[in-house]
Amino acid sequence: MDPIYLDYAATTPMRDEVMDAMAPYHSGAFGNPSSSHRWGREAQAALERSRGRIADALGAGRREIVFVRGGTESDNLALLGRADATRANDGRPCIVTSAIEHKAVLDAARSVESDGGRTIVLPVDRSGTVDLDALDEALEEAPCLVSIMWVNNEVGVVQPMSEIVERCRARSVSVHSDAVQAVGRVPVRVDDVELDLLSLSGHKLYGPKSAGALFVRSGTEVHARIHGGGQEAGLRPGTQDVAGAVGLAEAVCLAVEEQARARARYLSLRERLVGRLRAEIPDLRVHGDGGEVAGHVLSVGIPDLAAEMLMVSLDMEGLAVSGGSACQSGSNGVSHVLSAMYGEDALPAAIRYSFGRPTTDAQVDEAAAATVRVVRRLLGVAAPA
C-alpha cells in the first residue's frame, strides 16, 4: 500500500496559500521591521497586518498578539512570564494546571515550582475532562495563573473552557490556554471565551514551523523571559521573522474560516475509523470516550501488545501514526496523559491517528485494514479464512 500519513497532530505540511503569502518576505521584502527606511517600513507593515489578521481571527486586539517562535515558547512565556510578574509584585507564584497538559506547560510549571513557586496539578476523569471541583478548590489558593489546554494533543479531548474561564474570572485569576491543537479544530475566540493568555503554533495549522503567537489580554501582567532590543512590546525581543508571521497569519485565518466544515469532516473520518477498528479488534479501547472530542485525533488502546513493536510494524506497513504523542516516539515512556485518565497500572499499547486536510475515507479504510493486519499478527491470531 502507498504510505499514508495520519499524524497531522504531530505536524502538518504547509499549504500553498501559506507558502505563496510568505514567498515575498524571504528575499525581496527582507527588511528588518525595526528599521525606519523603506525596507523596514515594508516589513513592519507586513508584520503588523499579520498581527491584525490573527487578532481578528481570534477576536482579540491587534496589540494583544505577541509573535514568538512556536507553541512551546508561547506556553513558556505565558507561565514563566506570569510567574516572574508575580514575583516582581512580591508574590509567590502559584500555577494551577492539569495532568494532561503538553510537556511545554507541565515542565514550565515544574520549573516555577523549583524556583520557589507552587504548582497544583488538577486531575482529569476517564474521559480526559478536567475536574472542575478540583479547580474550584485550587482557586482558593489564589493562583497567579490557571493554564488548561483547550484540546489535548494525545487524545483530542476538548475541555469545557467557558466554564473554566468563568470560574477563574469570578475570582479574578488569570487563565491561559494552550490552544495549539484547538485553533482550526474547534471555535476559539477570546471575545467569547474570555481568556487572558492563549498560545498557538503555526505548524499544526499548515503554517510554518517555529512560528507561534501568544495572545496577552491588555492589562495582563507578563514579564519577558529573554532580553534584547525590545521587539514585541519587550515580551519577545529579537528581530521578528516577518515571513513566519505572514505565514502564521495566513494559516490561522484559513484554519478559522474552514473550522466548522473541517471539524464535521474529521468527526466523520473518526467515526469511520472507530467503526472499522471496533468491528475487528474486540478489546479496543477508545481514549476519551464519553468526553467531547475535537475530531482530528483518534487515540485507541490495544491490550496485550508492546507499543514499540506496534509502532514499528505499522510503519513497515506504510502507516505513519504515533504512539501517544510524537514527543514519545523512540522511547517507552508511558503517556502521562493516559496515566492521568486511566491510572498507572498496565496501560494498553496506544495508537494515535490524526487526520488532516488531505485525509480521505479510502485512506482511513486502508489504515484500519493495516492496523487489523498488524494487531492480528502480533497477537498471533490467524486472519479469518
Binding site: 514499540e308 514499528v312 510494524s313 522511547s331 517507552n332 502480533l378
Partner: protein, 366 residues
C-alpha cells in the same frame, strides 16, 4: 519473489554500518535497529537527551543514506537486568566479568531475534568479525581478520540464533571495512574504535559500582593487601577495583613488581605476589555452553582466556553439564575468575563458559 527481510543491529559504529550496507548490496530487505541499552540519567543537563545519543543519530544517518528504515528499540530494562546487574555482582564476588559476552548472549541477539520474529524478518545481522559456516548445523568461526576477531565474545549464542545470524564482515579486515564505509560516504567511516565498556561513560568502572552499590559496600571499602603467606603488606581502597594479574594500584615499595594473584571477598583481601606466582596449570569453567556438540574428556582443545589472548593448548580433563576442567600443557599466566574461557578447534568455536577457579601449580617441594 519478496526479498528476505533482515533486521540489522546498527550501533552507530562503522562496523555495523558497513554490515548493513553489505546486506543491502546483497539484495536483502534490510531494516536497521539500534538497541537503546542504557541512558545517562539523573544528573547533568543532558539528562533527558538519551534519544540524541550519538550512536542513535549516526545509525539513523547511515540508514537514511542506505535508504532503509531504522528503528530504536528500548532494551534498557533487559540490559540492566542481564548485563549491568551481573557486571556489578561479579565484581562484588571478586571476579572480573565480560559484559560484552553477557550482552551478546542475551540482549544483542536474544532480544533482537525476538523482535525480528515479530517483524517477520527471516534473520538478524550484526557487524561482528566472525564467520558462520552453514551446512549440517551452523558453525561459528573466528573472523578472517585475526586482529579484529570477536569470536571470544560470542560463545554464549543461543542455539536458535546462529542459523539465522548474518555476519557480513567475517571475511573482511578492518581497513577493508573502513574503505567500504568511505566509498559509501557513511558518516561513521572514520569513527574511532569503541574500546570502553559502553555503559561506563567515565571509563572507570568503579564509578559505576559506586553508583549502583549502596554506600560503604564492602567491595568498595578498604581492606588488606596480603602476601601468599598471609603477611599484611598494606591497604587497598576496595577489592572490586582489582583484577587477577593487575599490577597497578597496589602502591610501590616492593622489592620486585607485585601482581594481584587472588581476590578474597570474604576477607576483603587482595593477595599479591611476584610474577612467578602468577601462574595456572588448569581452570574450572562453570555452566558451559556449547555451540555444537559438547567435547568429551580427553579431547585436545585450544582455550582462550582473555580478549585478544593467544589460544592455549589444553586437554579436557573432566566435563559435565555444570562444569569443565581444562588442563593446560604447561604453566600459563593466570587468568581472572569471571572471565570467559572459550574453547576452539582451529578457528571453530566449540563453546565456552565462565572461569570459576584458577588452579595454581603445586608448590615445588624442597
Amino acid at each position: 519473489m519478496a526479498r528476505p527481510r533482515i533486521l540489522a543491529a546498527m550501533s552507530g559504529g562503522v562496523d555495523s554500518s558497513v554490515a548493513a550496507a553489505l546486506l543491502v548490496e546483497q539484495g536483502f530487505e534490510v531494516v536497521g535497529a539500534t538497541m537503546k541499552t542504557f541512558c545517562y540519567s539523573g544528573e547533568g543537563s543532558h539528562a533527558k537527551s538519551c534519544c540524541g545519543l550519538d550512536g542513535i543519530v549516526d545509525a539513523r544517518l547511515v540508514a537514511e543514506r542506505l535508504g532503509i528504515p531504522h528503528y530504536v528499540f528500548d532494551v534498557e530494562e533487559e540490559f540492566t537486568r542481564d548485563v549491568i546487574d551481573d557486571f556489578v555482582s561479579e565484581y562484588v564476588r571478586g571476579r572480573t566479568p565480560n559484559p560484552c559476552v553477557r550482552c551478546n548472549s542475551h540482549t544483542k541477539f536474544g532480544d533482537l531475534l525476538r523482535r525480528a520474529e515479530q517483524l517477520e524478518c527471516e534473520g538478524i545481522a550484526t557487524g561482528h568479525y566472525v564467520r558462520i559456516e552453514r551446512g549440517d548445523g551452523a558453525r561459528l568461526l573466528r573472523g578472517r581478520d585475526h586482529d579484529k576477531d570477536q569470536a571470544y565474545f560470542l560463545w554464549g549464542l543461543a542455539p536458535d540464533v546462529l542459523p539465522r545470524l548474518h555476519v557480513p564482515l567475517g571475511e573482511l579486515t578492518k581497513p577493508e571495512v573502513r574503505a567500504r564505509a568511505r566509498e559509501l560516504e557513511l558518516v561513521t567511516a572514520d569513527k574511532p574504535e569503541s574500546q570502553e565498556i559502553c555503559f561506563v561513560p567515565t571509563g572507570d568502572y568503579r564509578d559505576l559500582l559506586r553508583t549502583r552499590l549502596e554506600d560503604r559496600h564492602p567491595a568498595m571499602e578498604p581492606g588488606p593487601i596480603l602476601t601468599e603467606d598471609g603477611t599484611v603488606l598494606g591497604e587497598h581502597d576496595g577489592y572490586a577495583g582489582f583484577t587477577v594479574g593487575q599490577r597497578r594500584g597496589l602502591g610501590g615499595g616492593f622489592a620486585e613488581p607485585m601482581f594481584v594473584l587472588e581476590i578474597r571477598p570474604d576477607e576483603r583481601a587482595v593477595v599479591v605476589g611476584p610474577r612467578s606466582s602468577l601462574e595456572m596449570t588448569a581452570i574450572r569453567v562453570e555452566r558451559p555452553h556449547w555451540i555444537g556438540a559438547a567435547p568429551a574428556a580427553g579431547d585436545r582443545v585450544a582455550v582462550q582466556v582473555r580478549h585478544r589472548g593467544a589460544p592455549l593448548d589444553a586437554t579436557v580433563a573432566a566435563i559435565s553439564a555444570a562444569e569443565v576442567l581444562l588442563g593446560f600443557d604447561g604453566a600459563q599466566p593466570a587468568a581472572a575468575p569471571g572471565q570467559s574461557a572459550v574453547l576452539f578447534e582451529g578457528d571453530v568455536v566449540l563453546g565456552g563458559g565462565r572461569i570459576s577457579r584458577v588452579v595454581r601449580p603445586a608448590p615445588v617441594s624442597a
